[in-house]
């Protein structure tokens, strides 16, 4: 029998899981030049749904945990080839042109169009995985050889028993893009085009549209959207912008020795400072965690 035993019920584990899930928010931002267009992003994610189960084989199973990308704000910078109309000669003479039509050029800037797209909450991916809890004795690298345990505590670099998630398997599904995203993108492009050409006189706007054909198609072509907007967006977010990598990295950090889910100081202070009196600390030995299908049990001994 261990000197200390602490058991946490599966119900309590679920409560903790739900709390962690509901309070998880991560975000990042950046920009990139992807050749024909540029993109900047402000991307974050939160977690929804999913469940946790303690397994009789000693593992903990997390099922169908949704990663909801929110916020997900993309701003595309699109450079449309310059197009000039007019400037042709209305009244030619043997000595040159007496009267020319006015020349109007559009899409001279770079980029010509800034296309904001707010897709917050419309794109998800799903995580499932099984893991074990691993204990590790951590000596803080900030602790010097001459420090006593109390010096280390005072300096905020005490030794610790850490508890980490050790993955057995981990599955992160590709991005799941809501059907409405295509419509949102088309509508955003329409809005931008209307605003972009709004300053032109009606005849010039009609002429440009006649020359270019549906400008929406042009922008889609520049963005290389193709027929399948889901595939395009998935590729853009997942591969070009590395959104999936962002999530995988954060999740993997918790599964890869980077962030312990819990830690206990060693020696553990059972009484704190009392005025000038030093804290009373007891060494913890043989720390271990066992999981059954009903509870998670932590056991430890007190060192001499």
């Amino acid at each position: 029998m261990s000197d200390f035993t602490v058991a946490v019920s599966e119900k309590a584990v679920r409560k903790l899981f739900e709390t962690v899930r509901d309070n998880t928010h991560e975000s990042t931002s950046g920009s990139d030049d992807l050749g024909p267009f540029s993109v900047s992003w402000d991307v974050g994610f939160r977690l929804e749904n999913g469940s946790v189960d303690l397994q009789s084989d000693g593992s903990i199973l997390i099922s169908e945990l949704d990663v909801v990308y929110d916020p997900l704000k993309l701003t595309f910078g699109i450079d449309i080839p310059e197009l000039c109309i007019g400037g042709f000669c209305i009244i030619p003479t043997p000595f040159g042109c007496l009267l020319r039509a006015p020349r109007i050029c559009v899409f001279s800037a770079d980029p010509d169009i800034s296309l904001p797209l707010d897709l917050g909450g419309l794109i998800t991916s799903e995580i499932s995985g099984a893991f074990r809890i691993k204990t590790r004795y951590f000596v803080d690298p900030g602790r010097t050889a001459s420090m006593t345990n109390l010096d280390a505590e005072d300096a905020g670099v005490p030794n610790k028993w850490q508890f980490l998630l050790d993955p057995i398997w981990l599955d992160i599904d590709p991005l799941d893009i809501a059907d409405t995203v295509g419509n949102i993108l088309d509508q955003a492009i329409d809005n931008v085009v209307d605003g972009l050409l709004g300053f032109l006189p009606g005849w010039a706007r009609d002429l440009i549209k006649a020359i270019l054909g549906p400008i929406v198609d042009l922008i889609r072509a520049i963005l290389d959207i193709g027929d399948d907007i889901d595939e395009w967006l998935s590729n853009l977010l997942g591969v070009s912008l590395g959104l999936l990598d962002f999530v995988v990295t954060i999740v993997a950090d918790y599964f890869a020795n980077k962030y312990p889910i819990f830690a206990l100081e060693d020696p553990y202070p059972i009484l704190g400072y009392d005025g000038p009196l030093i804290p009373v600390k007891v060494p913890l030995r043989n720390m271990g965690v066992a999981v059954s299908d009903t509870e998670m049990v932590l056991a430890a001994d007190v060192g001499a």
Partner: protein, 287 residues
């Protein structure tokens, strides 16, 4: 049966682990177990039992001893006293069923259900002045009292303050010798959760105490009363564990607070003492 069938979190401590904790406590906070006058504090080698402090206690200049006033000598109007020391040299805890030591008959062995036994080795001593030195101080007191005007003594028979609000300190009679004794003290106790619901503390309550082999019975009873009162009033209250301090930060995500699981048919004792363990059943809140 799982540990947590009737609670969110179960915790237990085995008596062997607790006894190691007690030894750490005695080494790292010796002033909780050693009481003496200033003379002993300045010369701890004269104590009845040597103290073995943790090196950090020495390095940080922590006191080995809680300094107490000298033992007053009756009839000296509170002017004179004697140096003394009182030490808990050893403390062993035994949770039901008793198997670490045998209880004396006065405590109705075997150890009762849901109870723990304590074995303390208590040592004490008085720095006893030689008769020659005592006589000399007696002469001084006699001369002093002759010179005191009527009514100079206060209601508690000590001389009036030389300055308002101040009394002369007790002078200890110097001594080269000290007489020591050690007693085996046995006690039976239990755990209780005390305090309001939102700040429960785990406290030790003393049920009975017995000193072995002291005669006459009146002296034994008086000493038992003194030691039991010292434990109840002076030591055990300082060892209470506040459950509301057992609050954990779950990373940046949440704060976990714990509260004792209410007593019920499925949790008849909380804390419970059984199978050489003290067990605590708690529920958690997450905020």
């Amino acid at each position: 049966m799982a540990f947590t069938d009737n609670c969110d979190v179960f915790g237990s401590v085995h008596e062997d682990g607790l006894n190691r904790i007690v030894r750490h406590l005695m080494a790292q906070r010796p002033s909780l177990f050693n009481y003496a006058t200033r003379m002993f504090a300045a010369a701890p080698e004269r104590l009845c039992e040597p103290i073995k402090p943790h090196p950090e206690v020495v390095r940080r200049g922590n006191p080995l001893i809680t300094v107490e006033d000298p033992l007053p000598i009756p009839g000296t109007d509170g002017l004179l006293g004697m140096d003394f020391c009182f030490q808990i040299a050893e403390l062993v805890v035994d949770f039901h069923p008793g198997n670490q030591f045998s209880l004396p008959p006065e405590l109705d062995p075997p150890l009762q259900w849901q109870r723990m036994a304590l074995h303390l080795r208590v040592c004490g001593g008085i720095a006893c002045p030689s008769p020659r030195v005592s006589d000399r101080y007696g002469d001084v007191i006699a001369n002093l009292q002759k010179g005191l005007p009527a009514g100079a003594a206060t209601h508690d028979n000590r001389p009036a303050a030389t300055n308002e609000g101040q009394r002369p300190p007790i002078t200890t009679i110097p001594s080269e010798e000290r007489d020591c004794f050690c007693l085996d003290v046995f006690a039976v106790a239990h755990f209780e959760l005390v305090g309001p619901d939102d700040s429960k503390k785990l406290a030790i309550r003393l049920d009975g105490l017995e000193i072995v082999d002291i005669r006459p019975e009146g002296l034994e009873n008086s000493l038992e009363c003194y030691i039991a009162t010292t434990l109840r009033v002076g030591i055990l209250p300082r060892l209470r564990i506040a459950l509301d301090t057992l609050v954990y930060e779950l990373g940046a995500f949440a704060t976990i607070s714990i509260s004792p699981t209410p007593i019920s048919a499925s949790v008849p004792n909380n804390p419970a003492i059984e199978n050489d363990l003290v067990k605590v059943f708690v529920n958690i809140g997450v905020a």
